[in-house]
Symmetry: C2
Subunit: 352 residues, 2 copies
């Protein structure tokens, strides 16, 4: 089946590009001595996580317990970091159940989380690895000073059921030296108090080719690199040919010569602009702009005539691959522009 | 179970507010003599479509064939308009199957669609109602002149397997008189050629309380009104108390006094800004701003201290309800701030 026979809108994943992307960054990590722990939030498909592990990844990163549950359901995945503050009885119960099945670690940036984790794991006979999340400038979660990190490391060590796993950060883009400096200071401070820092986990696709500058890091978490997207093209991280995920659409209307409408809107492409203009790049049509989205319509405009015809199929590289792969229950794997197989996006649509 | 016991993030639907919203606009339509055909893309749940029909709606509007299939799967819904140009063999096959089960109509704004529909239905023994979509200023799909509408009406009448159902438009916001004038001119032109225009279908929540100004309209399509959202509050269409859909979240981190992080990001709230600043309204905290979203994190900031604590639950009215209800497999129905039941969002995650 070639693209003309695939019903649209469809999220296509090019298996050959996926494999090249996995190999390329694994080789890079191997060459600079960094362990790789891919973030599966991008694809949410166990088969792809297994490809990443086969190539040399040490384990996977998840953002939610339900993602971890979906990933380990088929077996073959046994080392999971959930890079999130986990709170509340329901989630802690699920976490305990998960810890019985795989080598599990989580992060925390506050005492309420840490005490909750300790209380949950205390009587389990297990010891959960807890990394302290540090805010190295991204202004999301994380302690904002090395001293706070030390306090939390000390608390983790003293409390039952948990052990200090090291440091983790979701770094700001393009600030490798600031990130490295914060983490190095924090590591030295903690070590000065006779506490070992087994893991320093950094990540992010935008700075992936500068990962070696994070000289203090031991492992790298990264999601988007497996698919790549328009945002990473715009940052010079990859080229168009490296984009494994595209959205196949059909032109359904050409109300004027200068406007065409395709059958993918914000319920497939999402409204995620990722600081770009327009809602994706149309492969082969650099002059066309996806200027607005309704829920199931995408409007394409142009300075002159679009040149598009009703019924014509187009491939769109979305701004942000991770949110697009989350929109539909199934994606279609392709190879050399032919349908290979459909795959359920196992970890999507779940609450937590 | 009260909200403190509901795991987060959760999409909550207040059943009492839903019922009030349905009743209120149905009464309005009844009072101004407009037929109501609610758009189920907002909720994607058959039970809610049936409530809308029970209250007096004449049928439902869908945007995709898969939505229609999900809606009619349980029975009780037998009149469906798919307000979309339908093209391609797979979709036409599905459309034929659907037409055997319900009274079905679709729209078209071009000859390629019309010929495709005719070819598909010609030998079926059925006659599909096709409305001509008109662009009355929203710059999406639709013919841009009354003359083009006449040409398509003529073509529909001449071709086998289809019949001319009338006119349909997705109108621009706040331009009722322009919309009415385009449709009136088009209707008169078509009638002057001895063609009856059985239905003139207009719609949109932003102008719902001005529907009577569309004096030529016979039916109104509307989706968001069942839930309402921050966008409609900002346009003065509803009040906060009329919002049936909220996202229940938990504060998972307070890295600084001025910043808190909740467990809902763009994979629940979506990046849809709907021309607003910030990613939703936090009920009871008008001074707080959801200033940025990652995939599973929402960052809340404030000019001063946020006053939020880790573990605290918050309710967020999203910018755009229709895209949020599309994000999770299940929503939770509540009444008087108590859990009532969980419901699968039957029509979400499907391609077409």
């Amino acid at each position: 089946m070639d693209y003309s026979e695939i019903d649209t809108p469809a999220v296509l994943i090019d298996l050959n590009i996926v494999q090249l992307n996995i190999k390329k960054f694994q080789s890079y990590c191997d060459s600079v001595g960094l362990k790789l722990r891919p973030h599966i939030k991008t694809h949410k498909i166990p088969m792809l996580a297994k490809l990443q592990l086969l190539e040399g990844a040490i384990g996977i990163t998840c953002q939610k317990i339900s993602e971890a549950e979906a990933m380990i359901s088929e077996g073959g995945i046994d080392d999971v970091l959930i890079a999130y503050n986990i709170l509340g009885e329901q989630k802690l119960d699920k976490l305990l159940a998960l810890a019985k099945r795989v080598s599990l670690s989580v992060v925390a940036d506050n005492m309420i989380c840490i005490v909750g984790l300790s209380n949950a794991f205390e009587k389990s006979g297990m010891e959960l690895s807890v990394l302290v999340e540090c805010d190295t400038g991204a202004n999301r979660c994380g302690v904002i000073s090395p001293e706070e990190a030390l306090d939390l490391a000390n608390a983790i060590i003293k409390l039952p059921g948990i052990r200090f796993g090291g440091l983790m950060t979701y770094p700001p883009i393009g600030k490798s030296s600031k990130v490295d400096s914060f983490l190095r200071k924090t590591k030295l401070l903690i070590e000065r108090h006779d506490i070992k820092v087994p893991v320093i986990s950094v990540g992010g696709s935008p700075d992936m080719w500068n990962a070696e500058k994070l000289s203090v890091a031991t492992e790298y978490r990264i999601g988007t690199y497996i698919y790549n997207d328009r945002s990473l093209i715009s940052r010079g991280v990859c080229k168009e040919k490296d984009c494994a995920l595209t959205v196949l659409v059909t032109v359904v209307s050409t109300p004027t010569k200068e406007r065409a409408v395709v059958d993918a809107g914000s319920k497939v492409l999402t409204s995620d602009l990722s600081d770009l203009v327009g809602h994706g790049h149309i492969v082969g049509y650099p002059n066309l702009k996806i200027s607005s989205l309704s829920e199931e319509h995408g409007c394409i405009t142009c300075d002159g005539p679009t040149g598009l015809s009703i019924g014509q199929k187009l491939q769109i590289i979305p701004n942000h691959a991770c949110v697009v792969s989350n929109m539909l229950d199934h994606v279609i794997f392709v190879s050399h522009e032919k349908f290979e197989f459909e795959q359920r996006v196992a970890a999507r649509g779940q609450v937590w």
